[in-house]
């Protein structure tokens, strides 16, 4: 397993309720695992705890077999690329400069930026379809462009694992599909990928496995077919849904309220 949580329980300081309750989850090389669940169910908490940003109350987490604390930050950033949900830049950075930050884990404190770094940044920009935007200031980008730039930055890290927290939020259909296709390609090339998303239908089509969280507990995990059950989803999301098969992938259709 590249990313692994075993019996992970997390409690925020002073909280009476645990934020994560005995969650076990693993992502292997060449595997795309989608983490889904309602707002506030603990998806991002799980990501942070898995990466050692939040301390676990009980349970353990491993990145490539080692506890997060056993990693040097720099080594970890060469191994694992993360696109977090929130990020606010306050200085006027260009797109290319932003993606170049993804090379920092591979640059020393004083080493100059090499042609190889520039080539890798270009490759990442092109894969995410933002090469044309390279000289734009990031503050002028649309939400979708900004998301793709951040994915490009994670790719510039040349990681072996990717953690994406809602990367396709605010993307239109084409760019959303392009990000998903890109992720699928990377996973096929051997990357381990944990994808946090609200797009259950896309998750069901792209992910090898899905994990459904509700109020910090793992409700279901396994192949999309085992997780995408109408009864479970209706209960967890608090809304009636139907699940239909579409080309072998279970697809969810939220029903309209029965009351007029």
């Amino acid at each position: 397993m590249i990313l692994e949580a075993r019996g992970l329980t997390v409690r925020y300081p002073g909280a009476s309720r645990v934020a994560l309750d005995q969650v076990t989850l693993g992502v292997g090389a060449g595997e795309l695992v989608a983490l889904v669940g309602p707002n506030g169910c603990g998806k991002t908490t799980l990501m942070r705890a898995l990466l050692g940003i939040l301390p676990a109350e009980t349970g353990e987490t491993f990145i490539d077999g080692r506890a997060p604390a056993a990693w040097k930050r720099g080594d970890l950033a060469r191994f694992l690329g993360v696109v977090a949900q929130r990020e606010e830049i306050w200085v006027p950075l260009t797109v290319e400069e932003t993606v170049m930050l993804g090379r920092y884990p591979r640059l020393g404190a004083l080493a100059p930026i090499t042609a190889e770094d520039r080539a890798e940044v270009r490759r990442a920009l092109e894969r995410c379809d933002v090469w044309e935007l390279r000289d734009r200031l990031v503050e002028t980008l649309s939400g979708g462009e900004w998301q793709r730039v951040r994915v490009a930055r994670a790719l510039a890290q040349q990681p072996r694992a990717l953690v994406l927290d809602e990367p396709a939020t605010a993307l239109d259909i084409r760019h959303e599909m392009e990000v998903m296709e890109l992720v699928a390609t990377l996973v096929k090339d051997g990357l381990a990928c944990l994808l946090i998303t609200h797009h259950l239908n896309l998750a069901a089509r792209y992910a090898h496995r899905m994990a459904l969280l509700d109020k910090g507990r793992l409700i279901a995990s396994g192949t999309p077919a085992t997780v995408m059950r109408a009864e479970t989803l209706s209960q967890v999301f608090g809304w009636p849904v139907e699940v239909q098969d579409w080309n072998g992938a279970p697809q969810l259709i939220p029903l309209r309220s029965p009351d007029p």
Binding site: P13, L51, I53, R73, G74, L76, A77, R78, L80, G81, V82, A84, R86, E87, E88, I89, W90, V91, P92, L93, T94, E97, L101, G102, Y104, P105, L107, A109, L110, Q157
Partner: protein
């Protein structure tokens, strides 16, 4: 393009140093400067080498130090309005100086030393306040703690001034407004030797400062050991600014305006930004000191007055532009 701009800034800084050498109550033209270098027995030689050169170099070093400090602190608190005195440091330095003058005596090194001690005490106090929530340094609380500690030191200073009436205290006030009147080779060497380590730490940490501009969590994901970076930036900046206060009083606006302006010239990446602000901050303070020496000659204005008079409108302009 960026490196060409750095070369231009380097030339401008050199020019500022040259102009600084010529300014003074006894004006020395380019010919005088040349004579000073060629004839060791000339009056110009004495004025230049024992008075003006150390003064100009000290002003340059202090200006560079303050600008680098401001840059690093702005990156730390992710706020372009941060400056080297934000940490309550100037208030602490002022209180230290006033206490030294009121209670001890004004020896050549008493006031700078007391100012330095006062600055470091307030730095420690601010740090303690900013880490109350767990052991993590919270940059937002840092700003608040700086304001609180400044208010406190200001109040104590007012009390001391009321209780100990002494004409020497006027000198303390003037000293606080900043000046290089006491500059000597000795103070230059002491400042430089002391400043080199914190300055080097900030230069080495330039890439971490870039990462911090994304926010703490993304910075961590890109390999920055965020807690350590914040501490190194905080203490290096404090040491540098405290030293600057000790040798020259509180010279405002260099650390605030220069980083802000240079981000527009060389961009926000610190590997280019730090040398750019050092050159510009140094050159700017040399010229400001030149103005302070000559504008009301033979009287000397506090250099902090000059930087404020130039800095406030500049700052207002930058503020207007950045708010849009």
């Amino acid at each position: 393009m960026r490196s060409r701009r750095l070369v231009l800034l380097f030339l401008a800084a050199f020019l500022a140093l040259a102009v600084g050498l010529m300014l003074g109550s006894v004006a020395t033209g380019p010919a005088g400067v040349i004579r000073a270098f060629s004839d060791p027995t000339s009056t110009e030689n004495t004025i230049l080498f024992s008075l003006r050169l150390p003064r100009v170099l000290l002003a340059f070093a202090v200006g560079a130090g303050l600008a680098v400090t401001g840059t690093a602190l702005q990156a730390l608190v992710r706020n372009p309005l941060a400056d080297p005195y934000l940490l309550g440091l100037s208030g602490g330095a002022g209180l230290g100086a006033v206490l030294a003058i009121a209670l001890v005596a004004a020896g050549a090194w008493t006031v700078p030393l007391a100012a330095w001690v006062g600055a470091m005490v307030s730095v420690a106090l601010v740090y303690r306040l900013a880490t109350v929530a767990g052991h993590r340094l919270d940059p937002r609380i840092l700003l608040l703690a700086g304001v609180v500690v400044s208010a406190f030191t200001g109040a104590v200073m007012a009390a001391v001034l009321t209780l100990v009436p002494s004409p020497a205290l006027r000198n303390a006030f003037l000293w606080l407004l900043g000046g290089f009147g006491a500059a000597s080779w000795q103070s230059l060497i002491v400042f430089s030797a002391y400043a080199i380590i914190p300055a080097a730490l900030l230069v080495v940490g330039a890439r971490n400062l870039d990462l911090l501009s994304l926010g703490e969590e993304p910075a961590q994901y890109l390999g920055a050991d965020v807690e350590r970076v914040k501490q190194v930036v905080y203490f290096s900046s404090s040491l540098l600014a405290a030293a600057a206060v000790a040798v020259s009083g509180v010279v405002g606006f260099v650390g605030l305006v220069v980083p802000h302006a240079m981000r527009r010239v060389v961009g926000p990446m610190h590997r280019a930004l730090i040398p750019a602000v050092a050159l510009t901050g140094g050159g700017f303070l040399v010229l400001a000191d030149g103005v302070a020496r000559t504008i009301a000659s033979p009287l000397e204005l506090p250099v902090g007055v000059v930087t404020a008079v130039i800095g406030v409108p500049l700052f207002a302009l930058l503020l207007k532009r950045s708010v849009r």
